[in-house]
């Protein structure tokens, strides 16, 4: 593969596109596919054939506004339709070249205002299973440039200059990580892509893998060149079957075009990638547990140091980055580190993909520049809280993060700002809660998650999460005392300080952040035996006689 061949592929793909007057891109993300978007695409294709319009019905990845799905994007007019049904195919095809179908307007309002697509630049425009369409949009230019024009050190320099930080949650500077692995001596090195996304309410990595897998492969290949690795693994959850399927196809396609394998881009550089499926353990997102899992061992973490950079997979130097981190690599090499660093805040550069969920009008995948405020994301892009309810809190960072109240809505998104507010960036889940949520119950939910996902290796996490969960349950039931609250606080401190890996160390965060901002709710449960949000059943359970009475009444009503 050389520059000319790359251009030829792109030109051929363009020519193929030129055969059509219209492109109807149908979202085939998990969410839209669950609503039979594949049937919609088939119907559109059939309809177009029937009426003789030169129209290409394309399968694409997630376009973002999942709540309005199934989504259809009509090009070149750039019209977006939402809530499309198979029956609408006729109308959509008829409207090509004419007035758009007003009835199918997704009513997205300001959803795309302020969003900036870098990681998601191709979604909605390419078929994730066709490598040539990726190439047509500038794909693999960065790999060619890196391999033929730059030294590994120059690649790392650009990544360092970009200020890119790990998108998996920790925010470790990516350039520094690459540099460390590159400096370690070793005949065999590995690159691992961490796609074990397990935070409740997070689906960024899944969407990226489903919509644009070639971008991740390109990022990994560039990383392998930079650090001197010859073998890569993508560790992805088995719960993401569509992502696994698209990745499998994408790897095969990339090999066919010579972007993977021996002598990539007519150089002496060899690299190939395999997929490893996770067996559904949250802790395997922790890098040492992930490595153990790939090795075929029980997925439990080990103390660091030695860090994977020195002794990782099978004891060899290993680079582990998150899906979104790798997805950011190709544009940086293509446009330079300064280009990437031109966006964002002083210490958090570029954009971040968030999965906006919960009590919010427009659920979906968004990509925003670092430094945007939570208010802009939740009320601008997300459209605020529905049903006239009042915003209460936003949970970021999954079970390791925390809940931020209304007074923090004007916080600019960056790694450091979120941590100082008691939460964290995490991998990008953003769960919005309104006044019908009880914050003690929310904390209990996350503690239950950590309790069941603890690997059981170290005692603070294994037994501490159980104790904390029981104390939180006790508070929810209205049976706790102030003494229990003190004990909970102490357990939070000890589990956070003494646990072996990140799971246990951050497990108390949801409790600590809710205690910080919603202490009055805890106290209402404890002192007044009352749940302010009306979620928990506080106080003694209803007497048996009352229960029989209610049941009787219910039977009468239904009869």
């Amino acid at each position: 593969m050389n520059a000319e061949e790359l251009q030829q592929i792109a030109a051929a793909a363009e020519e193929e596109r030129g055969k059509f007057d219209y492109e109807v891109n149908v979202c085939m993300g998990t969410s839209c596919l669950a609503q039979h978007s594949d049937g919609i695409r088939d119907a559109i294709e059939k309809e177009a054939e029937g009426c003789g319009k030169r129209c290409h019905a394309r399968r694409t990845g997630c376009m973002g506004p999942c709540a309005a799905g199934p989504m259809v994007l009509v090009e070149p007019a750039g019209i977006l339709y939402g809530h499309v049904h198979e029956a609408d195919a006729k109308e959509i095809v008829a409207s090509l070249g004419a007035e758009p179908v007003a009835r199918l307007d997704p009513q997205l309002g300001s959803y795309f205002e302020g969003q900036h697509f870098r990681v998601l630049e191709n979604v909605g425009h390419i078929d994730p299973e066709k490598v040539d369409e990726y190439v047509a949009r500038g794909g693999y230019e960065a790999l060619l440039k890196g391999l033929t024009e730059m030294t590994p050190a120059a690649v790392i320099e650009q990544i360092s200059k970009s200020g890119l930080r790990g998108r998996g949650g920790g925010g470790y500077p990516t350039g520094l990580k690459w540099d460390t692995v590159a400096r370690v001596k070793g005949a065999q090195k590995y690159v691992i892509c961490n796609g074990d996304e397990g935070d409740p309410g997070a689906f960024m990595d899944r969407s990226v893998l489903e919509s644009d897998p070639q971008r991740v492969i390109e990022g990994m290949t560039i990383a392998a060149y930079a650090i001197g690795a010859s073998k890569g693994y993508i560790y992805v959850r088995a719960e993401y079957p569509l992502a696994v399927q698209r990745l499998t196809v994408a790897l095969r396609e990339a090999r066919r075009r010579g972007f993977l394998g021996y002598g990539i881009c007519e150089t002496t550089f060899n690299f190939d990638i395999d997929i490893r499926l996770g067996a559904g353990a949250f802790v395997c997102g922790e890098e040492t547990a992930l490595i153990a899992s790939i090795e075929g061992k029980r997925g439990s973490p080990r103390p660091r140091p030695p860090y994977p950079a020195v002794s990782g997979l099978w004891g060899d130097p290993t680079l582990i980055n998150n899906v979104e981190t790798f997805a950011n690599v190709a544009p940086i090499i293509r446009n330079g580190g300064e280009w990437f660093a031109s966006m964002g805040t002083a210490r958090s550069k570029g954009t971040k993909v968030f999965a906006l969920t919960g009590r919010i009008r427009r659920t979906g995948l968004v990509e925003v520049p670092m430094g945007m405020t939570l208010r802009q994301i939740i009320f601008g892009i997300g459209g605020g809280v529905p049903d006239g309810r009042k915003f209460k809190a936003v949970q970021t960072g999954g079970p390791s993060g925390g809940c931020l109240p209304e007074e923090h809505l004007d916080l600019s998104i960056s790694y450091d700002a979120l941590i100082s507010a008691g939460s964290m960036m995490g991998s990008g889940g953003m769960i919005v809660m309104d006044d019908t949520s009880c914050m003690v119950s929310v904390a209990r939910f996350f503690m239950e998650f950590c309790m069941t996902e603890s690997c059981g290796k170290c005692i603070p996490c294994r037994a501490g999460t159980v104790q904390m969960y029981e104390l939180l349950s006790k508070i929810c039931r209205g049976e706790a005392t102030r003494r229990d609250l003190d004990q909970l606080t102490e357990l939070c401190e000890v589990v956070g300080a003494t646990s072996l890996c990140g799971l246990g160390q951050t497990a108390p965060n949801p409790v600590l952040s809710t205690l910080r901002y919603f202490r009055h709710e805890y106290l209402a449960h404890i002192d007044e035996k009352r749940c302010p949000a009306g979620v928990c059943q506080c106080g003694p359970p209803p007497r048996q006689a009352d229960l029989t009475g209610t049941q009787g009444a219910a039977v009468e009503v239904h009869a």
Partner: protein, 238 residues
Amino acid sequence: MSAEPNIRTLNIDGVGISARADQTILETAREHNIAIPTLCHLEGLSEVGACRLCLVEVKGARRLLPACVTRVEEGMEVTTHTPKIDRYRTLVLELFFAERNHVCSVCVANGRCELQSLALTLGMTHVELPYQYPQLPVDASHPRFTVDHNRCVLCTRCVRVCSEIEGANTWGVMGRGAQSLVITDLKEPWGQSETCTSCGKCVQVCPTGALFEKTGATSKVRKHPEFLPYLRIMREGE
């Protein structure tokens, strides 16, 4: 061979100490009679850093570090006991006791139990956390030994000694979180295990009454984990 470059000087609890570069904080401290409590650690086995009792303060480190796996470094300043660390250790110990059915008065290891001794030395007089009282099985199918999961602290010494010293790999861990359990083979009864050589090493290294030999009286249950370092040295000498 010159040994000089491999020597590190450090400071533990205000005492200036020199150690080999490949030594851990724990090894160095014990050589100099500085007590650091441990449970999952056993001389002669690999380290897992799971019991968190040996956490120490190292100046400049962001977190507390496990002494059993942290190598000594030049100029390191280690503190093994502070009011905060002691409080953490006591609570961690409470977590151990409350997790399963550790009732000393009816345990075969009473008086010879490492968990019990730790409670005594660390001054853990009572357990404030509620006991979980899980329903756990006892497997007495083996002709000579018994495993009582109610007393297990999941230190995985049995797993390690079986794999690293005996090489039988009979023991393993199943389940996760609080549901973790040490098992023989694929959770077959111990007596029916085809890999077990009945060497009894696991029983000797078990710190509590979870693994014990079937004898006439509980007062006769004595464990001898001291064979391990000797065995290691003899094997390395070969």
